[in-house]
């Protein structure tokens, strides 16, 4: 081409000027751990399933939940959702209602009849699971997925353990338990009910591994002096009768006293109210703030008219007279002492809910299984008891005694059992850095309060609230900040002054280090903290 007068250079593009050489800091896309995931005792990838739910991929969301937890509908009702307490949105306009979302997706799965993927058996190895509570069934579920032959023994009439015999119907409808357990038996897990185990030792000859998920169902003993009254019950026994043997359920009368401060005490009191009692009181030794029961449960009980009498112990019972000692409690040093004050209460019946322990009688005759001072089975870091091939988990091991921790433990136990049968070592998960609120750029989020749900005030065995509708699921799941995980908002791409972000055809983003000058705008404007600036020493 003929050049204009005095021009010696050809016209060119600035693309030959690789401005990436100016850089001292480089941006990198990272995936960080959202706080919900980091605190979930089951290890659910909550952020991931929320992101699927908000784009209407409900079944995919459900599949992600069930990678960690086979009971979404149950957990969505009874889990104490530590995830929501740490949710970064809590510091903005209220945590995402993860618990209700899980329940809603779980209910959708039941309504639509979604099933677990079918697993072809790949192993001749046989595993016996003792106990069909959340821990036992979760272990069965994961071991079945891994291809093992799994049989579950259950001493009660129906499977479910404490989910059925410890959680009242108004918190967990039985059809939900039945539906979620059926999905596990549909996979080929055999559950044999009303099967008492005489000798565990001999079962070891028939099975390669035994997993003890026997729970803690023996009511703890008290030293209350009792005279002239048959109307004293253990909460656990009452729950069992309510479920399986209602014809023999004892009359509780109009005035009921419940002794204890845990969730079982609250459940017992609320159940008594539903069975016709008119005056229900809970007696607890310390103050209401020290009750081990969950706060929402206490509030619901109070709202139903249950009275909680704190700083009191039952000294003795004689007929309808309950002799109470008032207590002094030093909260700072956790010192309880009897005060000189006493009082007498009247009640038609007394329900004891002062804790449960592991029924050691099942374990008799096995040398090597040790019971710790706290009354639980001792295991090593791989959840194995002192006897090779016998593992244990759930309430029988843990001190937490929640469905969630039982499921979390069983998930780990399944991995340990698999490693044991393969003769390999379990590689522990390395957890990444957790995203805190400061790492987010909340300029890009609108304040949107959580989607509310109506609660009935009826006191009955029906559930008090309902699940979210499809649209409500989408709205509530959309509130997730997606902490530490790119949600393709394109801020980095749109705000880069140097066009140094490449949008790949699959929607993923890459940084073009040829031109990235390292200004850091992308990292600052990333709403969810998924870009990190690091020193560029290349």
């Amino acid at each position: 081409m003929r050049k204009p007068f005095a021009t010696v250079l050809e016209a060119a593009t600035s693309l030959s000027n690789k401005t990436g050489s100016w850089r001292t800091m480089r941006p990198e896309y990272i995936k960080m751990v959202p706080p919900c995931n980091s605190t979930c005792p089951v290890g659910e990838n909550i952020q991931l399933w929320l992101s699927l739910a908000k784009t209407e991929k409900f079944q995919e969301a459900w599949e992600i939940i069930t990678e960690s937890n086979p009971f979404p509908a149950i957990m969505g009702r009874v889990c104490y959702h530590t995830c929501e307490k740490t949710c970064n949105r809590e510091q903005f306009d209220g945590a995402v209602n993860i618990n209700l979302l899980e329940r809603s997706i779980g209910d959708m799965a039941i309504a639509q009849g979604w099933s677990f993927r079918k697993i072809a058996p790949c192993s001749e190895k046989k595993i016996l699971i003792v106990g069909s509570g959340p821990s036992g069934l979760t272990a069965a579920y994961f071991l079945k997925i891994l291809g093992y032959n799994v049989i579950v023994y259950e001493s009660h009439l129906k499977p479910g353990g404490m989910m059925r015999y410890g959680v009242p119907k108004y918190r967990l409808p039985r059809r939900i338990i039945d539906a979620e357990i059926k999905r596990i038996t549909d996979m080929g897990v055999k559950i044999i009910c009303q099967k008492e185990i005489a000798k565990i030792r001999t079962e070891l000859d028939n099975f390669d591994v035994i997993y003890l998920a026997i729970g803690a169902c023996k009511a703890s003993k008290t030293d209350i002096e009792i005279k002239n009254t048959p109307h004293i019950f253990d909460a656990v026994d009452l729950f069992g009768k309510l479920e399986d043997d209602f014809t023999n359920f004892p009359p509780l009368g109009k005035k009921v006293l419940v002794y204890g401060g845990g969730n079982t005490a609250i459940d017992a009191a609320r159940t008594a109210l539903r069975l016709g009692a008119q005056d229900v009181k809970i007696i607890y030794r310390r103050t209401i703030r020290n009750m081990p029961s969950h706060e929402t449960e206490i509030n619901e009980a109070l709202a139903e008219g249950i009275e909680i009498l704190c700083l009191r112990t039952i000294n003795s019972i004689d007929g309808n007279k309950i002799f109470i000692n008032k207590m002094n409690y030093d909260e700072k040093y956790d010192i309880l002492s009897l005060s000189k004050e006493t009082e007498i209460l009247h009640a038609d019946s007394v329900i004891l809910a002062i804790g449960q322990s592991v029924d050691e009688s099942i374990l008799k005759g096995i040398d090597g299984i040790k019971i710790s001072e706290k009354g639980v089975i001792e295991t090593d870091k791989n959840m194995m008891t002192g006897v090779s091939g016998i593992f244990a988990g759930g309430d029988a091991v843990s001190g937490k005694r929640t469905v969630t921790s039982a499921i979390g433990q069983a998930k780990k136990a399944a991995k340990c059992i698999d490693a044991y049968l393969r003769g390999t070592e379990l590689i522990p998960n390395i957890r990444g850095e957790v995203v805190n609120f400061k790492k987010l750029n909340t300029d890009y989020f609108n304040k949107n309060a959580r989607v509310g749900i109506a609660k009935s005030n009826d006191i009955s065995f029906e559930e008090k609230d309902v699940s979210y509708s499809k649209n409500e699921i989408i709205t509530e799941a959309s509130r997730c900040f997606s902490c530490g995980n790119c949600f393709h908002c394109d801020n980095c791409y749109g705000y880069c002054p140097d066009n140094a972000i490449i949008k790949c055809p699959d929607g993923n983003l890459e940084i073009n280090y040829d031109y990235c000058k390292g200004c850091g705008i992308c990292a600052t404007e990333c709403p969810c903290g998924a870009i990190k600036m690091i020193i560029d020493d290349k």
Binding site: A12, D490, G494, C519
Partner: protein
Amino acid sequence: MSNPTLGNRLSKDDITIQSSSNRNNSLTCGHRACQGCGEALGARCAIDAAHHATGGKIIIVNATGCLEVFSCSFPESAWNVPWFHSLFGNAPAVASGVAAALRITGKEDIRVIAQGGDGATCDIGMGCLSGMFERNDDVLYICYDNQAYMNTGVQRSGATPPLARTATTVPHKNYLGNDPQIGKNISQIAIAHEIPYVATASIGNIQDIEKKIAKAIHIRGSKYLHIHVPCPLGWGFPTSETIRIAKLAIQCGLFPLFEAQYGKLYGSIPIDDPIPVEDYLKPQKRFAHLFGKNATPDAVSVLQEVANSNIVKYGLNGGDI
């Protein structure tokens, strides 16, 4: 105030052209703007929007300034659009000529944009710009306002805000930086010409830039768009904070976003909860002398007064204009 993210929106109206992988990248990679340059981002965003609205039928006339220097050091050009540069002061006149040539050859579907920094607009090219407005030539003039002559070393311009430190307004003893009594409000000067369209925009609100360009580009006659583009180097803030600073300027009321037609204001973007001007000034070194050991609280109140009067004047509190 919360801003929507650039892409991934439920409402299609909120999705920006900048988030699209099909954007023109009118100002492409390899330009020599400093790290975190607001002007480079503002220019790409505005010209991409114009390119999108006209199907690529645009001609750009660029005044001398940062934008011209960093995008076109001969023979390399970073522009993916027809682009023209003559002198510092004559961009509006050249653009008027281009528009006249297009009219005479019957190619009025090709739209003309003149653009420059605040120096070319307020000071050096003021005469040509005023003439272009007066004749109502069919040109969209875009001013990228970084509030000083950054390219030559941060000297004061007619758009430098009160009390800012520049290389020519260095605070000393009783002198607190740029004198509050002088300077030009160039958007108001444009409105006074009663041209068809005048608007302000900011890179703190990309959606708004794109909407205003799309509106302005098809209006026949003179249009003026004033885009606030923070400069990390000249203002003294970290390169990563450009967008944040732009947003703070909007949120405190010092940079109002408004529109005017034929000499009359008719709309503005309200700010829900105005922040104190300190929040915007403190992160910038050019205002550091207002906050240090020898700080004079009265000085900041001068700027707060400006913000307060903007809020009332432009209806940023949702009130009437």
